[in-house]
Symmetry: C2
Subunit: 332 residues, 2 copies
DNA sequence: TCTAATTTGTGCGTATGTATG
DNA sequence: GCATACATACGCACAAATTAG
């Protein structure tokens, strides 16, 4: 069966003729999942092409998930669906509620024939490294949400430089890659500054900073703020056994602790927004309603997903700080 | 007994096919400790291989401590404990907040050496079909959350029968597969029945059933309940332009509409749990706090993930209705 | 165990045509 | 007309995996 055909001097690049040949062979049924393709050398010799030309075609097909390669063996048909034109590798830290908005707005801003595959590294270096290594060459774009893992750069460097995008947090060593991220330090600092008149109702500001998972920039931004003011301050990592005092305002980063805090407040018969202030991180639907409204500092995840899609579609190599909003509500 | 099998022209190195054959023979019980393996020459002649190819496979097995060689005699099975990293294919409908608990409890209940890959079909038949077709043969287990898609069974049938598990909702045509699911019909019906004394405070029950994505069982359960009582009832698909009336109790399936409802209530100066009742579907952290507590009907996603992991680890071919709880709070 | 042939993977250099400003 | 960037195409060298004899 002659699967590939390449002609000289027709208005179509040779590598595209090869791609098209494979697509045609699939639709006509001549090529089935698992079938072996002719080797690079065989095609090169038959049509007097450069090895690179054939490789270019096969790389495109591989990134679209249509074929796969096995070193030392050859190329094999992996999928019979040719309507996917591009594939995106999206590596998150973990699955949580905030990913929902980000992911759906990202998807909706892309073309229909772009497939997005999601992975999670769970803050494990081994997982992070394995997922990236296993998927080299299989995608057109790699979007990576880094974590506080050493060697991050070393792993990412294995990927083609111009296909990598950094998401949500940026490290100094990754500055060379395009990115859309939260500036946790400035976001916390500026939001607190903006809320200063309301904060002045309180005597002491308390940061609840429980996890190693939280970006360090948050702590830095908080420290910067309290140095620039005369507030009493405290950083704690848990609410266990803590007695709330009138005049304290809490900056809470996760929703689990937000619940605990509100319950404690009620137990001690303290009034939110008067005796105790609360600022919560990351906006969610229900915070608009809870206790007459919880003041939040949050990035706009919808915007982030939308802008990320634009960056990829327009091949923009830029650094974008995603917009952060302070939403003042009853709790402050 | 034919322990070894090697095929020509498939995307798997021949020596790996031999290793895999031995692993399979062990897990299926065809090969026991002390059993002799076919000799190198026997395998070489049967499958027309090079001696080295067979040797490479046996060397790998020897290095892993699975077989041992006795000079002049042959190869013998030394250990039946093979640690292969198992792979799980997990196909969700879409990414949303409720998947978080389910997924993390599932992961945490599995062994460390099990890798779970997540996919989303987004209620598209093409996507559903492609994802399953492309990944045939690549995973040890396939966990599938079906949707209201026709031909579901036909697609799933392409997978090995004993590796498929159904998640969250079960259809009649899929009854032959093991499953852990929500019984939406009974859950709604029984929860409403259980809440009957509180519901009697109200005159009319309203189901807000907006999306085609919501399982039909919910509607059926609701209809069954209202037929068994004398409640006035109504099914609406949106709160737009709706004026709330005192004595109405709302069953709300999604959180977006829950917010809208609570806001409307406040605008009309109606009191929750007195003038207007609310029952919300799917428990989340904040519902414990909102408006003094929102009554919820919800399955236990933690339990679901944990039980699913058990099913897989113990190879249980069972049908399990996941536990559903009615949590009565201030809003009813 | 060694040698050899074939395959993919990767990096570097070069040349040409085309579009853009 | 000139400079530049980009896509296309070619050639070569070496590495690593697979398989054969």
């Amino acid at each position: 069966m002659n699967i590939i055909s390449v002609e000289e001097n027709i208005g179509l690049p040779k590598y595209k003729q090869i791609v098209l040949s494979v697509e045609k062979a699939i639709t006509s049924g001549n090529l089935k999942k698992g079938d072996a393709l002719p080797s690079i050398n065989a095609i090169k010799n038959k049509f007097f092409l450069s090895r690179d030309t054939v490789l270019m075609a096969f790389n495109e097909l591989k990134a679209r998930g249509i074929i796969e390669s096995i070193v030392g063996k050859g190329y094999y048909l992996k999928s019979e669906s040719i309507d996917v034109t591009q594939k995106v590798f999206l590596l998150f830290d973990e699955l949580n509620a905030f990913k929902e908005n980000l992911y759906t707005s990202f998807l909706n801003s892309l073309n229909d024939n772009i497939q997005v595959d999601i992975f999670f590294h769970h803050f494990s270096y081994d997982m992070f490294s394995k997922l990236i290594s296993d998927n080299i060459g299989s995608y057109n774009y790699y979007i990576i949400m880094p974590a506080n893992l050493s060697q991050t750069k070393k792993v990412i460097e294995k990927l083609p430089f111009d296909k990598v995008y950094i998401l949500d947090q940026i490290h100094d060593e990754l500055k060379q890659y395009p990115a859309i991220y939260q500036n946790f330090e400035d976001d916390i600092y500026n939001s607190l500054k903006r809320a200063i008149t309301l904060l002045n109702k309180y005597k002491k500001i308390v940061l609840l900073f429980p996890e190693k998972k939280q970006p360090q920039g948050m702590l830095v931004g908080f420290q910067k703020f309290r140095k620039s003011t005369n507030f009493q301050h405290e950083v704690i990592n848990s609410l266990d056994d803590r007695k709330l005092e009138k005049g304290e305002v809490y900056l809470v980063l996760d929703d689990q602790n937000l619940i605990v805090l509100i319950k404690k407040m009620k137990d001690q018969k303290l009034t939110i927004g008067k005796d105790i202030g609360i600022i919560s991180y990351n906006e969610t639907l229900l915070k608009e309603i809870v206790e007459g409204g919880i003041t939040t500092i949050s990035t706009d995840f919808n915007q982030m997903g939308k802008r990320l899609a634009q960056m990829i579609l327009n091949k923009e190599r830029v650094h974008i700080e995603n917009q952060n909003d302070l939403i003042i509500r009853n709790s402050l």
